[in-house]
Amino acid sequence: MVAIQVPDNLRRVLDVDGKIVPGARVPTIAEEELVRIYETMRSVRLVDERMMRIQRQGKLAFYMKSTGEEATHMSVVPLRKDDWIYPSYREQGAWFWRGYSLEDFLNQHFGNSKDVTKGRQMPVHHSANWLNMVSISSPVGTQIPQAVGTAMGMKISGTDQVAMTFFGEGTSSMGDFHVGMNFAGVTKAPVIFIIRNNGWAISVPLEKQTAAQSFASKAVGYGMPGVRVDGNDVLAVIQVAAEAAERARAGLGPTLIEAVTYRVEGHSSSDDPSVYRNPAEPAAWGPRDPLTRMSLYLKGRDLWSDDIETTLLEKVNDEFSHYLKLAEDLGAPDIETLFEDVFDEMPWHLQEQRKYLLAQARTKNPHIHN
């Protein structure tokens, strides 16, 4: 009943002290990009904390932190701009890496009039077609066959684009995981599956999720390679994702990557892990923190310092406060928007309902005659 995994047979690049593991395949990354990777991860940690704080203050209905899992988000680093991503709900860093702004991020959470999704979804359900980041959906696993379909489309169209999709280890139990993986195997679609194995699906530990030796081993059933990587080692994550992307672009088909990490916090702002989880468990994961490892590595290469970190945090903090204020001050989207985008053109029944609601909104608390 303890979800700590012995991280055996994991692909690794950095050890816990931020040193390169002897013999590791190290990804080729320019220095400024290395820094940007760490900055993104560090910013996510900060943003998560601030978001949860405003949630606790009652300003936000809901939030989900990704604390401890930030390195897994960086699977997107080897992708090109024209590659497509189907995220789950716990990959904040992937969004920021692709260029999603803190402003968009906050507006979505507040579902305000500037939210690009028009206040249609709960917090943490982003969508950005200009980044080829597909709308997050709450039902888990539905994105898996969809990502495969996009990859099939890429292949049919003769491009060398790649699709990537993220999901938690719990989600691997859904039927959609199976059908998606199987279609990908058969069609050799250029798709990369990232299982964020964080040990828990809300209150359910991984050993109640599957009896398989590992999640990566599930790849056997689909005739594709399965790779297990230390999900708290950002360079290893990037390396295995880069290899998978190369395979996919070369027409060799899909890859399943299991990034072994840990959900240090509760599932969401609605959760209370103390009810079901031994507090010693998250504590034990502390030394494996992906931020510590990467910052030690960067410091070792003289690319990072505590001062730079302080400056970064100040900057992100300020930016956050700035956009938070803006986001809070904006109202909800116009009532009319309720009826838009159900269809391309609004059919008569929705026009009628819109008219009714607008009239009703005007005559609130109507004076009633009998």
Binding site: S138, S173, V342, I368
Partner: protein
């Protein structure tokens, strides 16, 4: 008598059933140690053990599929679907299997699965934590559908479901899970399936609804009374088989009806209720039956309050039936 909210009432019914029926098994996501994300199964894991209160892998098709296999074998499974928005991966198992098992086997294999699932909006959940899919199941022959509006009924109806031999979808109005409180006996009792309840008597308009809409209708009825309109309020409680007799009696008296539900209007349960009433009461109806329902859009997030029926909208409909 103790006071309970709906969660506590459900929990009490489950505890009674688990204690008296060794074949009863609870299964679902997070129903074990955690006691369910809404805490409806709280304490049952400790009391009845992990063999009978099972945290399953994350797969609704598996939860319902295995529950069916337990039921035809003779067990009494009580699966939980965490939100009714997540019931669709199990839709095939429910409509093609659970609902038809007795029929297709010529009566050889009854399939008494009681699925519990929270339903409806009002918790800022956006379109994936707010849907009201009851009409889909009412349209599926072989299923009973129950949806209580208060703690007393929740416990009594659930205990009734657990004692009969048909598959049931027991939907719980999550908006009022905690807000609706009332006196509930600690011991076992039943509320009869298939019987509506007249919550408030009245003369001019019959208001018909269920679940979280009942208090909306009551609120509207009170406001209407203030301005001299007398409304009868009926809580359906069982949606299939629904208690048409009670509805017909009421509409024969009032001559007007308003049906209220959260689900989208088009092809919603309101259409069935209205059509059935027209078929029986056309001669006495003084005005078209009004349907106050969710709009035909996915359930929104920011505009949730604009989306959901409220007392004002019900009053608007009442007025329309009077002014026709």
């Amino acid at each position: 008598m103790p006071t309970m909210n709906i969660i506590q009432a459900v929990n009490s019914a489950l505890r009674i059933q688990m204690a008296r029926e060794p074949k009863a098994v609870i299964l679902g996501e997070d129903v074990g140690k955690f006691g369910g994300v809404f805490r409806a199964t709280s304490g049952l894991y400790d009391e009845f053990g992990e063999d009978r209160v099972i945290d399953t892998p994350l797969a609704e098709a598996g939860i319902i599929g295995t529950a069916i296999g337990m039921a035809v074998y003779g067990m009494r499974p009580i699966p939980e679907i965490q939100f009714s928005d997540f019931i669709f991966p199990a839709f095939d198992q429910i409509v093609n299997e659970m609902a038809k098992f007795r029929y297709r086997s010529g009566g050889q294999y009854p399939c008494p699965v009681v699925i519990r699932t929270p339903v409806g909006g009002g918790i800022r959940g956006g379109h994936y934590h707010s849907q009201s899919p009851e009409a889909l199941f009412i349209h599926t022959p072989g299923l009973k559908v129950v949806l209580p509006s208060n703690p007393y009924d929740a416990k009594g109806l659930l205990l009734s479901c657990l004692q009969q031999d048909d598959p049931v979808l027991f939907m719980e109005p999550k908006k009022i899970y905690r807000a609706s409180r009332g006196e509930v006996p600690d011991e076992a009792y039943t509320v009869e399936l298939g019987k509506a309840k007249i919550v408030r008597e009245g003369e001019q308009v019959t208001l018909i609804g269920y679940g979280a809409m009942v208090s909306i209708m009551e609120e509207a009825a009170i406001k209407a009374e203030e301005i001299g309109i007398s409304c009868e309020v009926i809580d359906l409680r069982t949606l299939l088989p629904f208690d048409l007799e009670t509805l017909v009696e009421s509409v024969n008296k009032t001559g007007r009806a308003v049906v209220v539900h959260e689900a989208p209007k088009t092809c919603g349960f309101g259409a069935e209720l209205a059509s059935s009433l027209y078929e029986r009461c056309l001669g006495v109806l003084e005005a078209p039956i009004e349907r106050v329902a969710g709009f035909d859009t996915p359930f929104p997030y920011s505009l949730e309050h604009e989306y959901m029926p409220n007392a004002d909208r019900v009053i608007g409909a009442i007025r329309k039936t009077l002014e026709w």
